[in-house]
């Protein structure tokens, strides 16, 4: 856990050979991957909740969605900063960034729905939405890519990278994933604690 934070620090120390601002990419892309895994995990948990109706899955699912939202926010904040440097504008409807924006909006909707429902309906409905939102992700990614008919400088960093960069990128991805797992465990505990306390208080009030 603290090791995850240390790794995240450590990544900045690892050297690479291109322009310094390129360093943003490590966290930007890794955050996007982690956000995606977080949402995939939410979808899986939602399905499991709908099948098994165990509270644990709902807690895990919502915690994962929340952390996914945090990582998504990071992508959306670092993206424009990088874009401002590279292309001079804050936002340019680049494929990945736009898809991430839509993704972000979908999961904000997830939490709005959760906030507006009572405890019994909340779990079921947000699970349903979790599944639907995740299903939309590949469709959105694919369609946004085709949607923009501008020719952009390739932002694909999956092309060949010199090995020192690949190493630091992998390290940062690992670090972010560990951070995600850590935050997930923590947040799930909090969700479960909260629901337990709610139940206790409710019992008390109605005794």
């Amino acid at each position: 856990m603290f090791w995850a934070l240390y790794l995240v620090f450590g990544c900045a120390v690892v050297e690479e050979t291109m322009l310094e601002v390129q360093k943003i990419f490590y966290f930007h892309v890794s955050s996007a991957f982690v956000a995606f895994t977080a949402y995939a995990f939410t979808c899986v948990c939602s399905l499991l909740y709908l099948i098994r109706k165990s509270e644990k899955f709902d807690a895990l699912g919502s915690a994962s969605a929340e952390i996914g939202l945090v990582f998504c926010t990071i992508v959306l904040v670092t993206g424009p900063i990088w874009a401002r440097f590279a292309w001079g504008t804050w936002w340019n409807w680049e494929a990945r960034l736009t898809s991430t924006l839509i993704l972000w909006l979908m999961y904000i909707g997830y939490f709005v729905l959760r906030a507006m429902l009572d405890i019994d309906l909340r779990k079921t409905y947000s699970s349903v939405l979790g599944v639907l939102a995740f299903l939309n992700v590949p469709i959105v990614y694919y369609s946004v890519e085709v949607w923009q008919d501008r020719l952009h400088p390739p932002t694909n960093t999956k092309s060949q990278l010199p090995p020192s960069m690949t190493e630091s990128w992998l390290v940062s991805w690992l670090a972010l994933t560990l951070l995600y797992v850590f935050l997930l465990i923590l947040r799930t505990q909090l969700v479960q604690m909260k629901s337990r306390i709610d139940v206790l208080q409710y019992d008390q009030v109605n005794r």
């Binding site: 900045a12 601002v21 904040v77 440097f85 505990q189 909090l190």
Partner: protein, 118 residues
């Protein structure tokens, strides 16, 4: 698994310090003008083609281009640091919020336990 709040504060403080140093002070000069002069005279000595006549002008040009390079590096570093700062800020705010929620929940738990015993 409780996160000690103090750890967070330490991490944040360290990073704010780091960021502040970068943004407020000047980017440390990596190439000094003595080095420029030395490198310039060395390369003039080593040059195979006809020797350059106006050394002083060339030296001035080199100094100017070095200054430009430094400025560019400063801008790039500013972007880099602000991006990292944003990331850390987001993580920190989120973790802080979690820790606060945790302490609130613990307080509520205590209250409920107390009134149950009573």
């Amino acid at each position: 698994m409780l996160i000690p709040k103090t750890f967070l504060f330490i991490v944040m403080f360290v990073f704010v310090l780091f960021v502040g140093l970068f943004l407020l002070s000047e980017i440390p000069v990596i190439i000094t003008s003595d080095e420029v002069f030395l490198a310039l005279s060395e390369s003039i000595d080593e040059s195979v083609v006809t020797p350059i006549v106006n050394e002083a002008k060339v030296e001035m040009l080199v100094k100017q281009s070095v200054a430009k390079l430094e400025q560019r590096q400063a801008t790039r570093l500013k972007y880099l640091v602000s991006a990292y700062f944003a990331i850390w800020l987001i993580f920190f705010v989120y973790t802080f919020w979690l820790v606060r929620m945790q302490s609130e929940l613990l307080k509520r738990l205590e209250l409920v336990e107390k009134s149950r015993k009573a």
